[in-house]
Amino acid sequence: MSVISFKCPNCDGELVFEPSSGKYKCEYCFSLFTQEELDAMKPAETEEQPKEQETEQETDAEQTGGEKEEADGEAVVYSCPSCGAQIVTDETTAASFCYYCHNPVVLGGRLSGDYLPDKIIPFSIDKKEAEKRFLDYVKDKKFVPRAFFNKKQIEKLSGVYFPYWVYDARMSGNLEAEATDVRVWVTGDTEYTETKYYAVERGGDMKIKNMTENALKKANKKLVEGVLPYRMEECRKFTLGYLSGFGAEKRDMEKSEFEADMKNQAKEYAVDMMRDTIENYSGVKVKNSNIQIKNEKWSYLLLPVWTLTYRARGGKTFYYSLNGQTGKVCGELPIDYKKLGCVSAIVSAAAFVIGLIGGWLI
């Protein structure tokens, strides 16, 4: 397995993917290269050190369930192609930086074979933009303590491609329901309620796409799923180049873990879709439904997420995630309880006054 660095043909500096231009940029001589140009180059590679791998393999074997195919990818120590220093990684890390020379490295082997992603959405928001979007987001929140967030306290902001499973399904099925139509009218002193009952049947083909699940155990599910959805139509064919300059994680959760849930969920959506076509009734009760999944597709995707660590003044650390494509932010926010309490009290007081006026007028 190899460690890959993309080198600038002009100065031998490191090439990284630049979100704003979608091209590869040399950080030293500022040359820009397109995807095609990069594909034509041969990236620098170093082989991993087998000895180091052995020692780590024992501890990791338990966690991964000892699958033979995976054994190759379990090495956690690599050597940097630029400076030769050791790069220590998690077993799921697929792209990172050399701890010593800070050059981007891509652990190509981690994303090959079964782990080759089907598609990738490259970053389109760069670090500066991400920081700005985050601060704007926080500023917009009315009940975050004033002056709580400032740029200097952003401790760590890193762009990481997280692994996700995306599920598409084609289904067919039918549904039986009882629909009611209620009409009420008044004649003289009598109120009539007419209830008409209908037996309703629906049948057809349903298609559902882009149901997305986090595929990394150590990821905070709330944070990485909180930045969904992505514009999936902007997916691109995966190439290692997109990872240069960013972190990346490979999946450690297999689709079998979600399969049953996803299928049930998809079927529920299918029933909902059919139910939605029963219109213009006062009430609909689904009596019976039967859905078969005709065709399904699982895709393994790498999606861009900016992760942000923020150390508050009190010493508490807050974690945020930011969608690297759309800029959507997710994360727990500190609350200015005093302010929120005041606003709630004002709302209460206003409601009380309005209530009293209402009581007065009745």
């Binding site: 039918n174 002193d189 109120e191 009952y197 559902i208 076509t277 709630s344 206003a350």
Partner: protein, 259 residues
């Protein structure tokens, strides 16, 4: 000249007598008391005193004139006529009422004129009479009057039916308070929950990501059920006050109850 003077003098006496004579009894009574006329002798001295005080208090509060009257000789008139004639004679202003216990016709009667007509509707008069009836049938006449004065006062405070003074009742305040507190808590916890990612998180939207191709669409009518319910119309029990024109050309309201 002398003849004319005599004639005029006689005419003057006739006029004075004609006006005053029917009310000599009243005039005599007025000397003793101003508002309570106990011709039937149903009340003791102390009772009259305490009733006078009550009446005075009520008159001051309402600005009306209230009289209490008992008689054992209605002079062949109905209790209504008798009461209205006295009320008309005693009244100095336009707004007044009289509570009469007529032992001759064995009837309790309330006559109203002016403003009290609007306050004391037929149903309210019935209720005042009911209050007094229990006492009067037991010959507790002073208590009967007391009950009538206090329930009359109550109705005065309630105001004209349908035009009751606007007020916030305690349960309205309580409901307003409960809603206000609930709303405040809702605002508080919805924001806390949102900031702590308890809700408002991403949810897959099947409407945006799903497509449906309907092959079968059948709606069959099965049956229908019609139920009916009688609407309780809130026929206002306080439909108003019935009035007529009586003694002195005044408009009177009122009502009586035999005992």
């Amino acid at each position: 000249m002398r003849k004319g003077q005599i004639l005029r003098y006689l005419a003057g006496i006739m006029l004075v007598l004609g006006l005053v004579l029917p009310y000599t009894q009243a005039a005599n009574a007025q000397e003793q008391t101003e508002t309570v006329y106990d011709f039937a002798g149903l009340l003791s001295e102390e009772e009259i005193q305490s009733l006078e005080e009550q009446v005075a208090a009520f008159c001051e509060q309402s600005g009306w004139e209230l009289f209490l009257l008992t008689t054992d000789d209605a002079e062949g008139e109905t209790t209504m006529e008798y009461s209205e004639e006295y009320l008309n004679a005693l009244l100095s202003g336009d707004d007044g009422l009289i509570y009469t216990i007529d032992m001759d016709n064995r009837e309790i009667y309330i006559a109203t004129t002016g403003e009290p007509i609007q306050y004391l509707t037929d149903s309210r008069i019935d209720s005042i009479l009911d209050d007094a009836y229990t006492y009067i049938s037991e010959e507790k006449y002073a208590e009967g009057f007391q009950a009538m004065i206090s329930s009359g006062e109550e109705y005065y405070q309630k105001g004209i039916p349908g035009h009751e003074p606007k007020a916030i009742r305690w349960y309205e305040a309580l409901i307003a308070f409960a809603i206000a507190v609930a709303l405040g808590l809702l605002v508080f916890f919805s924001i806390v929950g949102k900031y702590r990612l308890k809700w408002g998180n991403y949810k897959y939207d099947y409407k945006e990501n799903g497509e449906i191709d309907l092959k079968k669409k059948e709606d069959h009518f099965v049956n229908q059920v019609v139920t009916q319910r009688h609407i309780e119309r809130n026929t206002s029990s306080d439909s108003g006050s019935s009035t007529h024109t009586g003694a002195g050309g005044r408009t009177y309201g009122g009502g009586g109850k035999s005992f």
